[in-house]
């Protein structure tokens, strides 16, 4: 099962160093080696984002992120896990889960019951 892991900033959390916080390089190395992390990267802040809409056939661009909250998404990873429990374990090992927020979204699997 593939999960999109959105790595987000928690604007309310200002603490810089949290004891026991995992190292992101270790996290990437470990999960790449296991084949759990398929890809992932940091993304530029919302100020560099462009929002695209097509309305009445016209392409409309907006300078800035779609979400009202600024600079929420800092990066993303794509995970391949057996189930949600495994994905939660992997996400909980990422430093941004310690001083930010991680959202897990299962990929849409083509099925007939939705």
């Amino acid at each position: 099962m593939k999960y999109l892991m959105l790595v987000c900033v928690d604007p309310d959390l200002t603490q810089r160093d949290i004891p026991g916080e995992p190292d992101v390089e270790d996290w990437v190395r470990e999960n790449d080696a296991k084949g759990v992390r398929l890809m992932g990267d940091r993304v530029r802040p919302g100020s560099d984002a462009t929002t695209v809409r097509v309305r009445d056939g016209e392409v409309l661009l907006t300078d800035g992120p779609y979400a009202e909250t600024k600079d929420l998404i800092a990066g993303f990873d794509v995970l391949e896990c057996a189930d949600l429990d495994e994905a939660v374990r992997v996400a909980a090992g990422h430093p941004m889960a310690w001083h930010g927020v991680i959202e897990l979204r299962p990929f849409w699997v083509d099925d007939n019951d939705s």
Binding site: D83, L84, V88, L104, P106, V109, N112, D113
Partner: protein, 422 residues
């Protein structure tokens, strides 16, 4: 005539047997079918339902099978195979069907004892923390307790449509996010078991009222706690939860008066307390405590046991209750625990000791707006002879009381205080 009568009798006998099996059999069959269909909860429930419907039709004529659970599970399984076969033109179902065909067909179950008991798997899946609490409760009642959507909707005072959507969304989340159908491995249990215990206790408390459409929730919660305690004999908190429910439930008959008003513990008629439940609850608790891992449910059960075994309100072992609340405050700190600690302190050591503790709690502001904080304060002040302040606190409590029954209780106390000579 005689024939008709005997077939009626056979019918009602079969009906009773089926009702008896339904209580525990429903969740066992649903769990087995979830596994069998590769996680199709709707199909699993539909097949379980169908098996019971068949039983209601056939058992009165054919007699009750010697292995009723095996009969029902086989019927549900056959129905599932039928349904998947018929639906096999759909691509997704085809895959499911192909998977079924690839493995040798599962045996027709011939004996109840060979049916795997996967109710624990079902419990942990229904109460997975990735589901919100409402969803956990709804799924537990539907899939584990076998209540209909309409029954669950009535108990939670929402429309059947709302509850149907809630259950639908919960099942979708289980399927789409791939919440595993399993008992969590040992290292995850400390994180996951509390969630199951919490849902069952919440169900129990929902039903711990005098509303008839809710009391069913309590009996289901006790039944499920019994199943959980039986399936996890090494988890003292699971035993503690069952003990706590039994000890509370023992006092059920005395909790409301004829008008439906709540009766305080001091005024309850102890002669109607269910001594069998008290004995069972205390025995389970004692066994659990011997493991030396007292968690919040065991400690709460120990407090309930102090109350349930006290011959009169005055004979209650208050010093022990004070100690238990202190212990509870360490493992599960909360302002409510502190409030109850202060109440017990007032009983064990007198109002002059308890009042400063209560005032410190009030000053923290964490129970602002909670009527029982003021009611407790009023009681301590009255016992200290500070009647004017006591009245003031009672009026504050009255303003905040959430139900008419509680307002009536507080008004009675206010009237009592104003009576001269008291």
């Amino acid at each position: 005539m005689t024939d008709e009568k005997s077939s009626d009798e056979a019918g009602s006998e079969a009906g009773e047997v089926i009702a008896g099996i339904y209580a525990d059999g429903w969740s066992r069959i649903v769990a087995t079918m979830i596994r069998f269909t590769g996680g199709d909860w709707d199909l699993a429930e539909e097949c379980a339902q169908d098996a019971f419907t068949q039983a209601l039709r056939r058992w009165p004529e054919e007699g009750i099978p010697r292995q009723p659970l095996a009969w029902l599970t086989t019927a549900a399984r056959n129905r599932a195979v039928d349904r998947l076969r018929r639906a096999s033109t759909e691509a997704a179902k085809l895959r499911q069907f192909a998977a079924l065909e690839a493995e040798p067909p599962p045996p027709v179950y011939t004996s109840d004892s060979e049916i795997p008991d996967e109710r624990l798997e079902l419990m942990f899946t229904c109460c997975h923390p990735a589901l919100n609490l409402d969803a956990q409760v709804a799924l537990t009642l539907r899939s584990l307790a076998g209540l209909s959507t309409a029954e669950i909707a009535r108990a939670f005072l929402v429309t059947e449509r709302t509850m149907g959507q809630r259950i639908f969304r919960a099942k979708q989340k289980v399927a789409h996010a791939v919440i595993p159908f399993r008992v969590p491995p040992a290292h995850l249990l400390p994180d996951r078991l509390p969630s199951v215990l919490h849902v069952l206790y919440l169900l129990y408390n929902e039903g711990y009222s005098d509303q008839p459409n809710k009391t069913r929730l309590s009996s289901e919660a006790i039944r499920l706690a019994r199943v959980l305690a039986g399936l996890m004999p090494d988890e003292p908190e699971a035993q503690g939860l069952l003990a706590l429910m039994l000890l509370h439930d023992a006092r059920r008959a005395s909790r409301f008066d004829a008008e439906g008003d709540a009766v305080t513990l001091a005024e309850q008629d102890r002669s109607v307390w269910d001594q069998d439940r008290v004995a069972e609850g205390t025995a389970i608790l004692e066994r659990a405590l011997r493991r030396g891992r007292a968690g919040p449910f065991q400690i709460q059960a120990a407090i309930a046991a102090c109350h349930a075994t006290a011959p009169t309100f005055g004979d209650t072992d208050w010093p022990q209750i004070v100690g238990l609340y202190e212990q509870l405050g360490r493992v599960a700190p909360s302002p409510l625990v502190e409030l109850n600690h202060a109440v017990a302190l007032g009983m064990a050591q007198g109002p002059e000791t308890a009042l400063p503790v209560l005032d410190a709690l009030a000053a923290s502001g964490r129970l602002d707006g909670y009527h029982l904080l003021h009611a407790t304060r009023a009681d301590l002040l009255r016992r200290l002879g500070r009647n004017e302040e006591a009245e003031e606190s009672l009026r504050a409590a009255l303003e905040l009381a959430p139900t008419d029954a509680e307002r009536r209780l507080l008004e009675r106390r206010l009237a009592d205080m104003r009576m001269p000579g008291r």
